[in-house]
Symmetry: C2
Amino acid sequence: MDAATLLLTGKAKTTDSIYRRVDSVDAKGFPPAVKNLAKQSAGIAVLFETNSNIIRAKWTLPAEVYMHNMTPIAHSGLDLYCFQNGKWQFVSVAKPAKGTSQNQLIVQHMDGSMKQFMLYLPLYNGISQLQIGVQKDAVINKPAQPAINKTKRIVVYGSSVVQGASAGRPGMAYPAILQRRTGYDVINLGFSGSAKMEPELAAYIATVQADCYVLDCIPNPSPEQIRDRSHYFIKYIRGLRPNTPIVLVETVFRQNGLFDQQVGTTVRRQNEEIKKTYERLKQEGVKNIFYIESDKLIGNDHEATIDGIHLTDLGFMRIADAILPVIKKAMNEKK
Amino acid sequence: MDAATLLLTGKAKTTDSIYRRVDSVDAKGFPPAVKNLAKQSAGIAVLFETNSNIIRAKWTLPAEVYMHNMTPIAHSGLDLYCFQNGKWQFVSVAKPAKGTSQNQLIVQHMDGSMKQFMLYLPLYNGISQLQIGVQKDAVINKPAQPAINKTKRIVVYGSSVVQGASAGRPGMAYPAILQRRTGYDVINLGFSGSAKMEPELAAYIATVQADCYVLDCIPNPSPEQIRDRSHYFIKYIRGLRPNTPIVLVETVFRQNGLFDQQVGTTVRRQNEEIKKTYERLKQEGVKNIFYIESDKLIGNDHEATIDGIHLTDLGFMRIADAILPVIKKAMNEKK
């Protein structure tokens, strides 16, 4: 079954090529790095239901990727969940081999009851084509009652951490964890190394309807860029979306910044600058802005990253635990 | 500085080639797969102290590795910790590029105080050569007071999970977490896919002095192999080490076994067989045997693995939390 005929979640809008995050026309004015990352499939998942005993996937990647801090499963693989007893539960993954043409068994020997599945797409690669394989006599179709509720939506704009570095598999990026826990449609606008709050991005994000915006974009811009851009960026979104709650997240502390004194200083200055913008917005009477401090995000044992900045699944579970209550508060307390 | 002149931990015995886990003569009778994995450097770390502001590493890998469920940092990279305020704290990693010759900056801009460091070696590759780089005028030498206490030692024999799949970086394999938390020398005898309790392995392990043996080798043998081999295996070690506590660990439940009915049945049968052996040993009056059940190991949210069986850092933190109290109990309560 061509996955394009099933139900896609995690997409801000319809796009020219179905498995990319941002339409190429919308991305036209983006900085080149963001324009390129907009083609990737982070945060997109395919929903379907089937009574098949077996699920396979056949997918084509636009390119072979090497990342020292990501598993091939995370950057180029697929991650399958099943909705059972009111919860999304991990089933198994489609493991990419070297090369770009993939054809893998995900799970077999299941009982033949009808079940709803969600298949997450690669975090740091794209998808040119995707087919989901079931046995010959099985039913596969769009879920009659999708367990991801598209009437509520959270949009997360941010850095590589938002895009999903360094989750073990696509479903462990924290926007995906938020999506499963809330049942809302969560849009991953994480642009690795490139979430620098340019006006073009504000212009795009403000056109993406949301019930909550999470801005976790402090790791990438310099302290000076945060000083120069963040107030305009947030006010622009607020202008087009007067009542939608906005959650501002300080940058995760770079663990190596506890040893590298220059890195440590930069991170502190980044957070000081966004804090100043937050205080200024409050003074200006801007409502429905929520703020999460760096030391609340990933614990204090220094073990939650792979390389000092990018979160492992341990870090992603912790950051999801930290951010979700603030999102819920923001959505409930909206004035 | 050639790392071979510094202090190595995590080694069962001296070996012909310094960065391999088991001497080639000792490994001669091992099954071919185990013989090959014995060359890898999982669990080995280099201890040193330096006042350098910068630490680099230059290392040669015997081969380029591709693993769909491991990051290059974990299978072929290096992971640096520093001993501060009585604790080991993560500093940063050496990120492997493609190829086998590596030369990477790990950390810079540190203050110039004397510090003790530990550098973990690759989990699923070997090391042919390793040099640690410091600035010209800095001191680097073996620590005067090593923070890993070689007077106490834990030996962990097991599968890929013990070897470290799928930690994000070498220091997150659970034997490494146990080592940092206890300060004891912990020996990683994890042999991916190949921990099948052959008599040759019992013969070797019994010659490795330990204050506690952890046998986490149930994922690899079939239920029949566990039935046929486990009693002999444990009794053999007990024969040569009459008083050393032995901690038996059931196999982590394969998460996909909740959907794949055949996998689910196999895992249950593996655990039934090792439980029978445990009960038989108790009936025979064998002392100092401790047992950890599968459902105590990695939580119940089904999120702790990358592919159903191999633990991410989330899973490794949980399994370390589960196993460490039993090891402590075993070492304290020894009769």
